[in-house]
């Protein structure tokens, strides 16, 4: 049997505990993620998704419950946080705000450099990371970071995390704020990282088109708990879950559900544009 690479058991988290402003963000989350999966975590704003993923590389530690990542128990006081952070690369929302070096190559090299790797390996890693996100090494390494477009900056930030060679990549709203073309490119790169390098990807997103494109599995969170999980098809074809937990759906799914409500026989799980078009085409006269 496959051991999960990441498991969360009965995890709770309270902000500003024992103060009048105490706020319980997580109320017992359970989750199991297998190596090589792409998992989306979705849910209404304030459901605790960001708090949850901040546990995955040791920004928060479990107050009660357990988080196990690749054999490391995050509740253990003697946890090697450095090693954890090398295994789990966390890319924050708007990571481009965190670029601080003048040159692209230097910014990406910062992590591996701090790991005290030999210079040759730092260079190799930077080169690899840049190619993985679609930034040509020779052309881009000496570019000034501030003169990049938003999409390029985000790729640099992602490359900076990849250069640590994480086994698990955790992304918070990876494409928010990007224009449609940069968004598509970045999603393709993430998919490639998963398929070619076997990196497990966990991402939080509000963009259901993105979830439909990337995710093998979806966890739905509400009120500080995970309330259900399944493949995109399972989740998007279930109007009850969608309504009850106020999950957004891709526009294609919304259209198919509307047709279904009107009494047309369509498969609401066909959420890719081509598939949805084919589904609707079947309804139309010759």
């Amino acid at each position: 049997m496959n051991q999960p690479i990441l498991s969360v058991k009965d995890l709770t988290y309270v902000y500003m505990k024992s103060t009048p402003l105490e706020h319980q963000a997580l109320l017992g989350v359970n989750m199991e993620i297998t190596e090589g999966e792409i998992v989306a975590i979705i849910g209404h704003t304030g459901c605790g998704k960001s708090t949850l993923i901040q546990h995955f590389n040791g920004i928060h530690f479990p107050q009660t419950g357990h988080v196990m990542i690749n054999g490391m128990d995050l509740t253990k006081p003697k946890l090697d946080v450095k090693s954890l952070r090398r295994q789990v690369g966390l890319v924050f929302q708007n990571p481009e705000d965190q670029l601080f070096e003048k040159l692209v190559g230097d910014d990406i090299a910062y992590g591996p450099f701090k790991m005290k790797l030999p210079l040759e390996e730092v260079r190799e890693r930077v080169k690899w990371a840049m190619e993985m996100v679609g930034l040509p090494f020779d052309e881009m390494k000496d570019r000034a970071t501030f003169a990049l477009s938003g999409g390029q900056k985000r790729k640099v930030a992602l490359a900076g995390v990849l250069a640590l060679r994480p086994k698990i990549l955790v992304l918070d709203e990876p494409t928010a704020g990007l224009d449609p073309k940069s968004r598509r490119e970045l999603l393709e790169k993430i998919k490639k990282l998963n398929q070619e390098e076997g990196i497990t990807v966990i991402f939080v997103s509000h963009n259901m088109e993105e979830v439909a494109y990337l995710a093998d599995r979806i966890y739905v969170m509400a009120g500080g708990k995970e309330v259900c999980h399944g493949t995109p098809e399972e989740i998007f074809t279930n109007p009850e879950i969608i309504l009850q937990h106020r999950i957004g759906t891709p526009e294609t799914v919304r259209t198919l559900h509307r047709l279904h409500e009107e009494g047309y026989a369509v498969n609401t799980g066909r959420f890719r544009v081509e598939d949805a078009s084919t589904e609707i085409r079947k309804l139309l006269p010759e």
């Binding site: 902000y15 500003m16 402003l21 706020h23 979705i42 849910g43 209404h44 704003t45 304030g46 459901c47 960001s50 929302q93 708007n94 000034a144 501030f146 003169a147 477009s149 938003g150 999409g151 709203e173 928010a176 704020g177 990007l178 224009d179 449609p180 073309k181 940069s182 968004r183 509000h206 963009n207 259901m208 088109e209 106020r246 957004g248 759906t249 891709p250 526009e251 294609t252 919304r254 259209t255 509307r258 047709l259 009107e262 047309y264 544009v273 081509e274 949805a276 078009s277 609707i280 085409r281 309804l283 139309l284 006269p285």
Partner: protein
Amino acid sequence: MANEPLLQVEDVSYSYKINSKETLQVLTDVSFSVQKGEYVAIIGHNGSGKSTLSKLLNGILVPEKGQVRVKNLLTSDRTQIKEIRRTVGMVFQHPDNQIVATIVEDDIAFGLENIGVPHDEMDARITGALEAVGMSEYRYRPPHHLSGGQKQRVAIAGILAMQPECLVLDEATSMLDSYGRDDVLAIMRKLHENGMTIITVTHHMNEVIEADRVIVIAEGKIAMVGSPREIFMRQQELESLHLDVPDCSRIAKVLHQEVSSFNATAMNPEEIVSEVKRLTHVNQEESKS
């Protein structure tokens, strides 16, 4: 004049200094005007200059060349800046940059104090603004513990409380979930119905549908202007500008190619459904007769 535009952008150019030698030209000779009560969407790829443009609309930036008028006030006239900002309110992409206080209520009061709203009027304005964005129950909460979407709604409330005539939203929904976004879009729609002028800068093509008029910016210039329907028919041009059309427009186009009577300009789920109904209904009638 009765038809005096609320906003006039005339031959505006703007560039940023990279260092002592180089400058980065962001906008070149951009001109357009916005009428009172209009709903305008500005779209463009990352780095197209649309954010810079939005910052020129209430004098955060002042044009290098050309001018921006709010009603009859020039944004370059710094003595009028308060009046300009009272007329045109801005909501930014990152609410964290816009929230200053430690309690939601205080954050909204901050803007009101700045423009000299009397204390006894403040309470009603705060209540109204929080209601408009559905955040009443968070009135006494610290904003930094709210989620991104909730913070954005607080930021919008802060602007609404100042009762501007025009609201400029610079990718204000890009951090929200689809329900949060729908809420904000509904707020915008309602404000628009009540006569508020709305200018929204966005990457989300399905938000553009709500607008009366779309301005497409590319390489610092206006590349296209038209109704959302007109703009979305030009899919290839949009794609060449790193933009996109809503999925429903794509579906409509595919279906139109196969069934020529299917309206190729349908752009949202409702319009697709009504086209399917129209065509299948006609078909049923035919088979009956």
